[in-house]
Every structure is written in C-alpha cells, then in structure tokens.
C-alpha cells in the first residue's frame, strides 16, 4: 500500500474515532442546553479550515502575481471554493447551535453578521471569475481580489466578534488567554482539528488535479 493510500485510510479511522469520542467519550459541557455544546467539535474545525483555505488562496494568489504560473491561479480558486464550502458548514453548524441555545436559527449576532459578509465577499470572488472570459486577465483580477478579500478575514473572524457584545460563547482561547474547556473535550477538539485539516488537504489536492487534467485536455484540443 502506498503512503498516500495509507494516509487516506488513516483519515477514515481517525475521523471515525473523533466522531465516536465527540458523542460518547467527551463529557457534557456545563451551562449549555442539553448536549448542544458537542457541536463545537465540528463547528470550530470547519471555521478553522475555512480560514486556512482562504489563507492558502491568498498565498497562491500572491505567487500567481509574482511568477504568473497558471497553476497558482488554479490553487487559489480551488482553495477559495473549499473555504467557501467550509465557511457554509460553519454557518450551518452555528445556526443549529443558535436554534437550540437561543431559540432561533438566526439572530444577527456580530459573529453571524461577520460570517455573512465573509460568505458574500468570497461568493463575489467566484462571480468575478465567471464574469471575465480571458484566462490571463481573469487570473490577474482574481488574484488581486483574493488578496484584498483575505485582508478582511482576520477582522471578520477574529476582531469584529470581539468588539461588540455577542451571544456567541467565549472562544476556546478567550480574552484572558486561557483555555476554558474540559481536558477530554479539548483533546477531542484537537483531534477533530487535525482530521478536518487532513480532509481539507485531500480535497484540495483532488480539486487541483482535476483542474490540471481539464487544462491538459483543453491544450490537447487546441
């Protein structure tokens, strides 16, 4: 078995253990409705992967503008697409938590509002890509936009929700710089973060490979 395959099967087992531990091994959190706090094991990793994906997209965009290698444009677009997908998943899991805790799926809380802006910013990235026909011009404009879009990410993800009062529970690493979480819950969360990062890397490489095949076929046709 190749190392690549072993890693994939390892991810299957790893995430299965994380899922089991999230619901069966981690204790119930105090101060939350029922078992709603267990969503943290999926909500935080999806938000983390979204941020990571937007960072990768920004780095690939910088590399595109520097070296003009079309593969960097492919990397930027693939990563932004996955970022958007994981940001949507973070929004959905957050909404489920909001429904249980606060009685409504959507409350226009600062964190909900900031993620809406983030989703719109990256949706506009794909609208921009779809609007420009010339590949070189599209790649350049998209790269500039992706860099500017990423500038907003630290503000929308980390700053804005901390400036205003929010319904959102205190984050794992809070204002006091301490981790307020049961050690078993923390271990499961770390395991989930590793698993979701692995899943992102796998999906990202598949997307890039598909795009490379598509480009090779287009060149063969010309």
């Amino acid at each position: 078995m190749r190392l690549n395959d072993a890693l994939k099967w390892g991810l299957l087992v790893w995430m299965a253990v994380v899922i089991w531990a999230a619901f069966q091994w981690a204790p119930s959190a105090v101060g939350f409705q029922g078992e709603s706090a267990r969503i943290v094991f999926f909500h935080v990793p999806t938000a983390w992967v979204a941020t990571l994906a937007f960072l990768v997209s920004c780095v690939a965009s910088i590399l595109y503008l520097w070296r003009r290698d079309p593969m960097n444009d492919v990397r930027a677009a693939s990563s932004a697409a996955l970022g958007l997908l994981f940001a949507l998943l973070a929004t959905v899991t957050g909404s489920i938590f909001a429904r249980i805790m606060w009685g409504s799926y959507w409350n226009w809380d600062p964190r909900e509002t900031s993620i809406t802006f983030l989703l719109l910013i990256y949706a506009a990235y794909f609208a921009l890509r779809a609007a420009v026909a010339d590949p070189e011009r599209r790649a350049t404009l998209a790269a500039v936009y992706a860099i500017l879009a990423f500038v907003t990410v630290p503000f929308l993800v980390f700053v804005v929700p901390r400036i205003w009062w929010s319904l959102h529970p205190d984050t794992i690493i809070n204002k006091q710089g301490t981790i307020k979480m049961d050690s078993r819950m923390f271990q499961v969360l770390m395991g989930s973060l590793i698993g979701f990062t692995g899943l992102f890397v796998w999906l990202y490489t598949i997307e890039c490979r598909i795009e490379r095949i598509r480009q090779r076929r287009q060149q063969e046709l010309l």
Binding site: K8, L11, L12, M15, A16, I19, W20, F23, Q24, E35, W202, L203, I206, R209, I210, I213
Partner: protein, 34 residues
C-alpha cells in the same frame, strides 16, 4: 439505544459515505492522470 448513540451512528454513516465518495473520485482522477 439513547439519542446520543443514534446521533453517533448517523454521523458515522455520513462520514463513511462521504469518505467512500471522495475516495472514488480520487481513484477516478488517478486513472485519468495515467
């Protein structure tokens, strides 16, 4: 079977299904690359 065990099983089924789908796509891409 309690609610939490049911949620565990459903989540595990979703994960295995997702993995199987992505693995299939991965193999298909590999065949196209060769």
């Amino acid at each position: 079977m309690n609610d939490l065990m049911g949620i565990t099983l459903v989540t595990l089924i979703i994960w295995v299904g997702l993995f199987a789908y992505v693995y299939r796509v991965d193999r298909k891409v590999r065949r196209l690359e060769d």
